[in-house]
């Protein structure tokens, strides 16, 4: 059993009013220099067969028409780590 995270965000180029709202709010609190804010969601799941994850993402977890997803694969130890730059990304 592996703990896996799937990060889902609005596809680039699609208007993201939630991200824009956050981006506009940050300078009002004194946090300058913040751009490209996007708000997505995180799905955490324990899976027995990791090979099924891409199909799970395509079929249910994300809508590939409007969302990109990133699977954060577990390390060999089973400990969940943040994915590096080489992590699969679509």
């Amino acid at each position: 059993m592996s703990r896996v995270r799937v990060l889902i965000r609005p596809k680039a180029g699609i208007l993201d009013p939630q991200g824009q709202t956050v981006e506009r709010a940050l300078p009002a609190l004194g946090f300058e220099g913040v751009t490209n804010v996007h708000v997505g969601r995180l799905v955490e799941l324990d899976v027995e067969d990791e090979s099924q994850l891409p199909a799970m993402c395509e079929k249910l977890l994300a809508n590939p028409l409007i969302e990109d997803y990133q699977i954060q694969w577990p390390e060999a130890t089973g400990q969940n780590q943040n994915a590096g730059p080489d992590a699969p990304r679509r």
């Binding site: 609005p10 699609i14 208007l15 009013p17 939630q18 709202t21 799905v43 249910l60 977890l61 809508n63 028409l65 409007i66």
Partner: protein, 228 residues
């Protein structure tokens, strides 16, 4: 519940957990034909001539609107029914479900305002030859209510060009009425064959002048006018 007389066409209205507009859809359909409620967990369309996937919050809209309902047992039957030319109408959450199911192109995103909005909107008929708009004329304006948080129609530009070229854009928000930010003012689309139509506003809430407009009844009357 009151029933219409047997006037030929039998509508089936799908009920998912969280659906809330099935009774209005049932009553609207009953004005032009017979109607029956279809249970989401039953892989059975009960021999209906037309299926309505109504508004509401199927399965709580968890994960993403319409994402879970799309895999309900009844939806596998609806997909086969639609592929065989059966009449299917998706309203609001039902439209979202049909898009998720791939029965209709595109997807629905949160309104640009990020707010739930409930208002009467004017819709222009762009294609009056679909199974659900054939008693209207191109350019007709239908006044019906819309109420949703996630109703911003989106499809990639190439898809939109194709939809417009094929006449699959069925209804557009009239100037000044596109409150949710839908691309190209699109309020409703059809599949290539025109037997499956989806829209965000609610025709089932506009079937009697007593409540402000009976324009929505035209969609149900259109389906009833299609020879079975």
């Amino acid at each position: 519940m009151p029933r219409g007389g047997n006037r030929g066409v039998k509508f089936g209205v799908v009920r998912f957990p969280g659906t809330c507009d099935e009774v209005d859809a049932y009553l609207a359909a009953s004005r032009v034909g017979d109607a029956e409620i279809l249970w989401h967990a039953d892989a059975d369309l009960k021999g209906v001539d037309a299926v309505i996937v109504p508004g509401g919050f199927s399965y709580g809209d968890h994960l993403r609107v319409g994402a879970v309902a799309r895999f309900a047992p009844v939806m596998a039957e609806v997909e086969t029914f639609a592929a065989d030319g059966g009449l299917v109408l998706g309203i609001c959450n039902g439209f979202q479900v049909l898009c998720e199911a791939g029965l209709l192109p595109g997807a629905l995103l949160p309104n640009t305002s990020l707010k739930f909005t409930c208002r009467q909107v004017d819709l222009e008929v762009v294609n009056a030859s679909t199974s659900w708009t054939n008693v209207t004329a191109v350019g007709d304006v239908l006044s019906i209510p819309a109420k949703h948080t996630t109703g911003r129609y989106y499809a990639p530009d190439a898809t939109l060009d194709e939809l417009e070229a094929n006449g699959q854009v069925v209804l557009k928000y009239a100037p000044g009425h596109n409150f949710n930010g839908s691309v190209r003012d699109i309020a409703g689309v059809s599949n290539a064959a025109g037997n499956v139509v989806g829209l965000m506003p609610h025709p089932e809430h506009a079937v009697d002048p007593l409540t402000g407009s009976a324009d929505g009844l035209k969609l149900f009357a259109s389906a009833a006018a299609v020879p079975a």
